[in-house]
Amino acid sequence: MRLHVAGPKDVWAGLIYIAFGGLMFWGALGYRLGTAGRMGPGYFPRVLAVILVAIGVVALVRGLIVRGERIDGIAWKPLALILASSVLFGLLLERAGLVVALVALVLVSASASKEFRFDPKAVAGLVALIGFCVAAFVKGLGVPMPILGTWLEPLAVLAP
């Protein structure tokens, strides 16, 4: 079933404001309110959450009444691949190490583009990029990223 609304952008944005505002208000209930003169940690968030819900209601009502733009198509494939590649990087960095995490990040994200071809040139570029990152960030700037992670530590004995 498809509901027809006048301004879908406003309706969705309004619902998001109401949901987020509601959630933050609910969360703030756990913090001491205090008084206006002696505000507790729960005072400001509650005020803001109420304002946000109010803005959400206005947006929702406007979306139901006033004709607005349609929502453009969402590029699901690039969105999913870009986000997934970064999640993978985060998951792999400490476990498998920087090298593996970068390979995953680059290959998964690159597959989001139609033009990308996995050819020798791409491999060379990837190797160069990984080499640069290891040299510049790990060796140069001292960012504490394991080059080989805990999973691959047994391999470290093979290294010179």
């Binding site: 944005a13 001491r32 002696r38 947006a59 970064s86 999640v87 990087f89 583009s113 990152c133």
Partner: protein, 500 residues
């Protein structure tokens, strides 16, 4: 004279060998990343920010300012050579600049942009030296109530002057304010919204939000549209304007600089509004009106002078009042806080070397841009020619490593992904990320000032309107909001942003 003493302090700081080096590195990196198509100025600054955290405060801010100018200038270069501006402020430059490039005058267009920017930068350094001290002195009189109202005014003005829906900008500001509260409450020590996650006890790092919403978000948005760039020029020659060009650009540069300086001071002003205004003005007053849109050199000179003037003057409210007028200034404030500097009028009086060093380094940075970028144009052309499908995985790598290095935790990487997703979805619904970032930066400060103001007044909220300064600022904010909601002004505003 005071101005001369101040500038002397500034020169002695900015001309130290280390600071000159950091200024150069900033300008160079900023331009290099800024010329890359599809990467806006806020994303560029956010991406390079972690590189400055290890530096001492003065050098870090000098380098950041350099990155900012470089990125802006790089954006103009790209919009002249390829008709694909990454940033709203260079959209205008693309109109005539790209036409000039098509006619084989790319070199002259680039030189004009550089000269106009440098002239504007010089004038603005002097203007800053003259106007920052009185503004800062005035702000020293402010109490918590005045500060709170100033921030309300700043946020409202930035919403009104930015493009897009007012209602959604307001919504995004409030979301930002709420997200700014995550972490330990400075007053009570209570944990708020940290969900028991250790990484959230210090709050969300602003770089994580900026990289997620600007960096990741822009990559996905760029992948939606096919790569249709056409690089006009493989080799740029004829880098010096002719005598006729000089005659034609003198007045537009002057007008652009003046307009940009004024608009840059306004919250929400800054570069984009300034360049748009200057172009519109030139189109009205120029004798070569007919040429506009077909490669008029005035159409490059005026907006470039204005956007540089606007960009530089937007530092004034940031440095003297601690109010960010655009997302880049919000990032600067975030960087200052990380460096342990409390943004506000105290910066000028307590750390004159920092304040004046940064001001003067802006002029030096502009000089470097002028001297370096014209010879380096071949390098920039090469960078622009890198196809996007090779570029964006690399950008992603730097974003991921940069975010990880903030506090050496992969939690921040996942959080960046979350903000990338949220930012993309919200943008599809017509909600821009910029106001959210402003709200996020100002959230904790606003809470603190409101809390102090109401503590002093024993909980009486009328303190916000009984203080005359505070009342005036709140009234201005209210008037601005009402004006925008009036149909007639609303439509003018829509028209003004139509061309962007």
């Amino acid at each position: 004279m005071d101005i001369l003493t101040n500038l002397a302090i500034g020169f002695s700081t900015a001309l130290s060998l280390t600071n000159l080096a950091y200024c150069f590195v900033g300008v160079f990196l900023g331009t290099a990343v800024g010329v890359l198509p599809g990467l806006g100025v806020p994303a560029t600054v956010a991406m390079l920010l972690p590189a400055t955290f290890a530096l001492p405060p003065v050098s870090a801010l000098i380098m950041l300012a350099g990155i900012f100018y470089g990125a802006q200038y790089g954006g103009s270069t790209t919009s002249i050579l390829v008709n694909l501006p990454g940033e709203t402020s260079s959209v205008i430059t693309a109109l005539d600049g790209h036409q000039m490039a098509r006619q084989g005058k790319a070199g002259r267009a680039l030189a004009t942009a550089a000269i106009a920017s440098f002239f504007a930068g010089t004038v603005c350094t002097l203007l800053m030296a003259m106007f920052a001290p009185p503004l800062g002195a005035m702000a020293l009189e402010f109490g918590p109530a005045e500060y709170f109202s100033l921030m309300v005014l700043g946020l409202v003005a930035s919403i009104v002057l930015a493009s897009g829906s007012i209602l959604h900008a307001l919504g995004m500001v409030v979301i930002g304010l709420l997200l700014g509260l995550v972490g330990t409450d400075v007053n009570s020590g209570a944990q708020r919204y940290s969900l028991g996650i250790a990484e959230l006890t210090d709050g969300i790092n602003f770089v994580v939000i900026a990289m997620g919403m600007f960096g990741l978000g822009e990559i996905v948005a760029n992948l939606e549209t096919a790569d249709t760039r056409e690089l006009m020029i493989k080799k740029v020659s004829g880098l010096w304007p002719t005598r006729e060009d000089w005659r034609r650009i003198r007045a537009p540069i002057l007008r652009g600089t003046l307009l940009g300086s004024v608009l840059g001071l306004l919250p929400g002003g800054g570069a984009a509004l300034a360049s748009f205004g200057a172009y519109a003005l030139e189109k009205k007053v120029s004798r070569n009106r007919a040429e506009f849109g077909h490669g008029a050199i005035e159409g490059v000179a005026a907006p470039e002078a204005a956007n540089n003037a606007g960009a530089q003057m937007s530092f004034v409210p940031m440095l003297t009042l601690g109010i960010p007028s655009n997302p880049v200034m919000a990032l600067m404030i975030g960087a200052m806080v990380i460096q342990g500097i409390q943004p506000g009028p105290g910066v000028m009086t307590e750390q004159p070397t920092l304040f004046w060093g940064v001001v003067v380094s802006m002029w030096i940075g502009n000089l470097m841009l002028l001297v370096l970028n014209l010879p380096l144009i071949g390098l920039w052309v090469k960078m622009i020619s890198v196809p996007y499908h090779l570029l964006y995985p690399t950008i992603l790598v730097f974003c991921a490593i940069g975010v990880f290095s903030l506090s050496n935790t992969t939690f921040d990487v996942q959080l960046m992904v979350l903000f990338g997703l949220v930012g993309y979805v919200l943008k599809k619904l017509g909600c821009e990320p910029a106001p959210m970032l402003l709200g996020f930066i100002l959230g904790p400060m606003m809470e603190e000032y409101l809390r102090r103001a109401l503590l002093l007044s024993m909980g009486d909220p009328t303190t916000l309107i009984t203080s005359p300064i505070s009342a005036v600022m709140l009234a201005l904010a209210a008037i601005l909001l009402v004006l925008v909601l009036l149909p007639s002004f609303g439509s003018t505003r829509r028209e003004a942003f139509q061309d962007e």
